[in-house]
């Protein structure tokens, strides 16, 4: 069974005349780590929103871990997202007024499944992840806003990984880091993803980062709408 299978997907934002995504077919195997790139405005974020079940396509199917998202009502899609997907965004990823540790624990408060899968218990799992991601214990109780950008991104990675979600979605998570730290962070992410056997879809406009991924996909290869046609 594949981790993701998209068939005949057609998506148009409300109040826009033309479609933004038209993807006849796209598939990811379980445990696959894919680098998805495309220029700004090519619909990358829109695609991630669809995978997260935040938006619904006008036509076509999105099967995530064997589940057709369109079959779920919106509340169930929110639950499904909380249970199975870990998200990593660009900077300002954390709730600034929560401590680093509490930020990592957030998915466990929203999802019972993630809480149960965080072994042996969420707090221990969070501390182990933070340690693996090289964040010293003194920083754990600090408010996220007080951490450096690099530290924040590692906390965000720990948060995406806690409770072993099967699917990891990273949206330009390294854009705020310098070149050297970018590579370190990506290596870290790839290693941790492999350790839990999760499927990773890593989105960036910067093709130079693609080196260590299992597969590289350009969005305009799978999307029949060309960037110029949008907006």
């Amino acid at each position: 069974m594949s981790a993701l299978r998209i068939t005949d997907l057609l998506f148009r934002w409300p109040r826009q005349a033309t479609a933004c995504l038209d993807i006849p077919r796209f598939e990811l195997a379980r445990g696959e780590r894919v680098f998805l790139h495309g220029p700004s405005g090519s619909g990358k974020s829109t695609l991630l929103g669809l995978l997260g079940g935040v938006a619904v396509p006008q036509a076509g199917r999105i099967e995530l871990l064997g589940q057709d998202l369109a079959q779920l009502r919106s509340h169930a899609r929110d639950r499904f997202r909380a249970d199975h997907i870990g998200f990593l965004f660009q900077q300002f990823n954390l709730l600034p007024w929560l401590s680093a540790l509490d930020n990592v624990l957030l998915p466990c408060t929203f999802s019972t499944r993630r809480k149960q899968r965080a072994e042996p218990d969420p707090r221990t799992a969070a501390k182990r992840l933070l340690t693996q991601l090289d964040l010293v214990a003194e920083l754990w109780p600090q408010a996220a806003a007080e951490l450096s950008v690099g530290q924040q991104q590692r906390v965000a990675a720990a948060r995406a990984l806690i409770g072993q979600p099967e699917f990891l979605i990273a949206d330009e998570p390294t854009s705020a880091l310098d070149a050297e730290r970018q590579q370190i962070f990506i290596d870290l992410l790839l290693r941790e993803t492999a350790a839990v056997g999760a499927t990773l879809i890593f989105v960036s406009h910067d093709r130079r980062l693609a080196a260590h991924f299992d597969r590289t996909v350009a969005l305009d290869e799978i999307n029949r709408v060309k960037p110029g046609a949008i907006s």
Binding site: S45, T46, L48, G49, G52, V54, A55, S74, H75, D78, R79, R81, A82, D83, F87, F89, F92, N93, L94, L95, P96, W97, L98, L106, P107, T109, F110, S111, D171
Partner: protein, 420 residues
Amino acid sequence: MNPVLRLAALSAWSRRLTLGLTLLAIVLATTLLLAVERIRVDARQSFAQSVSGVDLVVGARTGAVQLMLYAVFHSGAASNNIGWNSYQAIAGHPAVDWAVPLSLGDSHRGFAVLGTRADYFQHFRFGEHEALRFTIGGPFAGVFEAVVGSEVATRLGYAVGQEITLSHGVGGTGMGEHGDKPFRVVGILAATGTPVDRTVHVGLEAITALHLDWVGGMPIPGLNIPPQLVAKFDLRPKEITAALVGLKQRSDVFRMQRFINEFRGEPLLAVLPGVALDELWQAIGTVERTLLAISALVVVVGLAGLTATLLAGLNERRRELAILRALGAGPRELFLMLTAEGLLVTTLGALLGLALTSLGSSLAAPWLLERFGVVLGARLPGTGELELLGLVIATGLVASLIPGWRAWRMSLADGLTPRI
């Protein structure tokens, strides 16, 4: 606790300065509203209890409100007096327990002078059947002795032993002084929050004595009867302005009222003070309702401030909302989160406002009685106050729905990547 609500509380705490200022505005607005309501109710209460324990107020035939105005509030003038014979007929009626005559028409530096008998101090009741109390001295005994109310004493700085002279007519019309017959203050009454505080009390005989050498509102030229000689005259009054009547049994009140209203000797009017006071309050009640309306507007302004604060903060919090969305929060939960925050601030503000009103009114009560004659009761919030409090919270809920709805819309439009 619901994780979203827990996060809402933590998020609100992180913005405690801004929200604190908004909270303060709501606290003050609520306090103003509740204070106006409390003073309104209590002013009405103390007004309605300006006189109690009196079953009927009797005067010459006129309107009920007018009779109350001059007999109880010593304001305005009586169109007619009632004869002493009529008074005696009423006082002697078998149903009547006591009847105190009142004679008005003179003044002292703007304060009304009431001619009555010493048993007035014994029968007059105000509030919850409270009797008059002397802070110092006692009732008048001699002809030229006076008892002053608390406000008269404070404003004019009078102590027992002070010599005062009375003026003919009310309201300093300059109709002439009774300067030849000075009075001595023998007693000062405790504050009551009623017109008693603003009254100079003298004996009925004193009123007669003052006017021995007067005819038709003018001194008789060339006639001057010095005070030491007045005792030689018959000082029994020929007529009085009004009378307060207490009955042996309250159940006789309507029978007695009819007896007086159908009195053969002259046209008389008897009114039940409670009913007449209510009628009088209706006439002057517009002011209190206006005040209440203004303070309600202040509350609306305070809550509009809350909505504005939450809406302004929402733009900065788009990231926060998107993160929560990615973690599995639905639009409904974000709506709940924003609305709960507004409702929390409103409820907290309303309750603190209530506390502040209670504290403030218990601190200000003695001062209000002293300065304005308003009796502020120490008590639990009345139903009127609780209704207003409920209205404030309900309005706050409506005001909070707007940012909640915005958050909902935003989360649907933004998805996981806010466009900032």
